[in-house]
Amino acid sequence: MIRLKGGRILDPANGRDEIGDLFIEAGRIAAPPPDPEAAARSYDLAGKIVMAGGVAMHGGLAGPNANAARALMRDAAPGTVGGIGLAYAAIGMTTAIEPALIPEHAVETHLQLGDIPFIDKAALALLGNDDALLRLIGEQHGERAIDDFLGWTIGQTQALGIAAVNPGGAAAFKDNLRAFAFEDVVPGYGVSARQIVEALIGSVQRLGLPPALHLECNNPDRPGSFVTAIEAMEAAAGLPLHLAQIQRHGFGAEGAEGFSSASAFLAEALAYHKNVSVDAGPMLFGARVALSADPARQFERSAGAGKWVVWDGEGNGGGAVPDRASETDYRHAIQWAVGLELCLLIDDPWRLALTADPAALPQIIQWLMDADARAECIARLPKPAMAMCLLPKLDREFSLYEIAAVTRAAPARILGLADRGQLGIGAVADIAVYGEQADKAAMFAAPDYVFKDGELIVEAGKVKASRVGRTLRARPVAQGQIASWLAQHDEALYGRAAGSFAVPDAFAGAESCFGDVPCRT
C-alpha cells in the first residue's frame, strides 16, 4: 500500500477540496487502512496539489492522418508514438482519446495506440460520411438497422464510441461540393447533415455507448459557423451530444473583415441545452500542423500552403496542412480569443473538457487562471481583432478546482469513464501531484509526481518507469442482423469482405491490450 500524505486533494467528482491522505492498493484508490502508518511507501505531499490523472478528450494520436502529419514535419521534428505518450504523462495526463478512428484504418490506429507508452487510450470510430450509413438512413432501413451497424462498427474497430466529423460534408466534397451546411443534402443519398446527426445521436443513445456522439460540426472556421453548432444542439432534441472542438464554431461575420467572435451566442445556447457537452482547444501562436479527418476543410486550408496532404477515404479521409498561427494576423487573433472566451463563458465546468496538445495545455491553463497573462497576450494582438472579441472584457479566472474539473472530472464523465478523472475509493489510481506555483504554466508543465495505475511513472520531470497502458473499448450488445446486408454491400460496392479491417482482440505475438468499459444502461 502506498500513502500520499497531507496534500490538498482536488477531486470535483467527489466534491472534495481538502487536505488529506490518499491510499493506493493494487493500482486503485483504496479506503484508509486502520493503521495509515503501516503503508509500505509514503509520500509527504504537504503543500502540494493532488488531482486525478488528466483525461485528454481530443488527442489526434494515431492513424493515417497522424502519419501524414509526420511526413510533412520530416524537416522539423516529427512526433513519434513514444513522444506522444511521454508528453501526456509528463504533464500528468494519463488517459487520451483518438477522436477520429477511420474504420478502414482501425488496425493501424490500434497498432499505433498500442505503441503509445505510459497512458491509457481509446478511440472513437468515425461514421457519418460512409456509404453504408448514408444508405441506411436514405433508404430508411430503420433504427434497428442503424443500431446494428453502429454496434457492428464498434465491435470491428474496438472503439469506445462513435464520432462524426463534418457529417455528409466529406461525402459531398467528393461530389465537388466545397461547402456543406447543416440542412444541405449529400448528392446521391438525399440525406442532410441534420438527418445523419439525428440518426447517430439516437443510435448511440439506444446502444448505451459510454460517450455520447462526438460531433465535429459542418462548416468549421467560417464566419457564421456558430449557427451550425446551434443547429446541431437543437437537433439533439434533449439527448446527450458532445460537440468537439467547439472553438472552431465560435465565429460571426461582423466587422470590417467579416469575421468576429460569436462565442457569446454559443455559450448562451449551451447554457440552455444542458444535454450538450463540449470540448474546447484554445490555440497557441506559432508553427502547427492542422490535422483533421475532414478532407473538405483540409483542402480549403491548403490554399497557399507550401505542402499538404488531403485524401478521400471510403468515409471521411482527411489530411494534414502545416501552417503558422501569427500574432499579427487578424483571423488568427480572433481564433485565439474565441478558444479562451468559450472556456471562460461556459459556467458549467461539467460540460466542458479542455483539450489541447500536451505541449500547449499548461500555457492554456495559465491563460484561463490568470487574466493578467491573457492581457499580456492581448496587448500584442491587432487592435481591430480584439475589438471584435469579448476576451478583453472577461475577467473570470478559473480556480484550481475548476481546472481539475475541466481537465479531469468532466472529460471522464462525458466519456463515460467512471473509474477515472476522480479520486474516490475504487477509482484507477491515476494521480498527478503538482507543486503550487504562481506561474500556472510552469506548475502544470511539471508535476512533482505522476502515478499510473498506482505506479510512479514520473517524478520531478524524470521518467521512473516505462509501461504500456490499456486501450479502452465498449462492447455494446448488437443484434448482428446487419452482417449479411453489409457483406453484400461491401462486396458490390468495394469488392471486399465486410470487416476486412477488423481489429483482433490481441495482435500477433502480444497479449490483449484492451480494457472494457461498461455501456450506459
Binding site: R74, D75, G306
Partner: protein, 272 residues
Amino acid sequence: MSAMIFTLRFQPEQRLDLSCLTADRLDGLSEKEILALPVSTTKQPLALGELFRVTMGEPGAIRIQARYADGLDNIGLGMRRGSIVVEGGAGAYAGRRMSGGSLTIEGDVGPFAASGMTGGRLRVEGDAGDFLGGPRSGEAQGMSGGVVVVTGRAGARAGDRMRRGVIAIGGDAGDCPGSRMIAGVLAVFGNCGERPGTLMRRGTIVLGGEAAGWPPTFVENGAVELVTLHILATELKDALPPSHLAPLKGRVRKLAGDMAVLGKGEILRLAV
C-alpha cells in the same frame, strides 16, 4: 592571428562528421577541448585528436588538410562566419545550411553540397556531386541564398527546388539541372544532361552548352541581350575565367517555362 589548421594523420575506417569545425563551434575552446570533439559516424567513438593534428590559431580562419576522398561529411555545416579552406576534397553536405562566411574546397565534393544554404559563399575547385544546392530528401526547399561556384562539373539535379541565390557551374551539369526551381539563378557554362528546368516555377537557368534532351514545355521567346546577365557576369567576375563570362554579355536565346506548372521561369541559352 594565423589560421587554425587541422591535418588528417591517417584515414579511419569510417566516414567522419566534421560539422564541429566552424568558427562558432570552436570559439573559446581550449586545444584539449578541441581534440576531444567527437567526429564519429558510427557507434565506435572517435575524437578529433585521434585523427587530426591541430595547429591552434584563429577559429575564424580554418584550414583542413586531408586527403580522404569523399569521407569528410558536413564540412561547414551551419557555418555563419569566418572562412574554411579544405586542402583536398569533401564528402556529403559540404556547406549545408551555411548562412555566412566563405567555404572553399580545393578538390571534389560529394552530394548535397550547399543544401539548404541561406548565405555566404561556397567555392568548389573540383567537381560537385548530385543535388548541389538541393534540399535533403523530405525537405521543402533547397538553397535560399548565397553564392555557389563550382569550377568543374556538377552531378544531377543541381539547384533542385532552389529559392534564391546564385549557383554557377563552370563545367557540365548532370540531368535535370534546375528541377523544381522556385526562384534564383543557376548558370551552367558547359553542357547539361536531360530535361533542364523540369517543373521549374520561376527562376533563371543559364545554359552555355547543349542539353542532352529538352522538356517539350519550354517555349522559344526570341533572342536578345539581357542586362540581367551583365549583372551575373559582374557577380562572377572573380570566380570564373573571363572566357566563361563573355557570352553573358552577348545575345541569348530565351526559353520560357516550365509550362507544365507555373511557367514563369526561363532558360537562357548563351552564344546564339
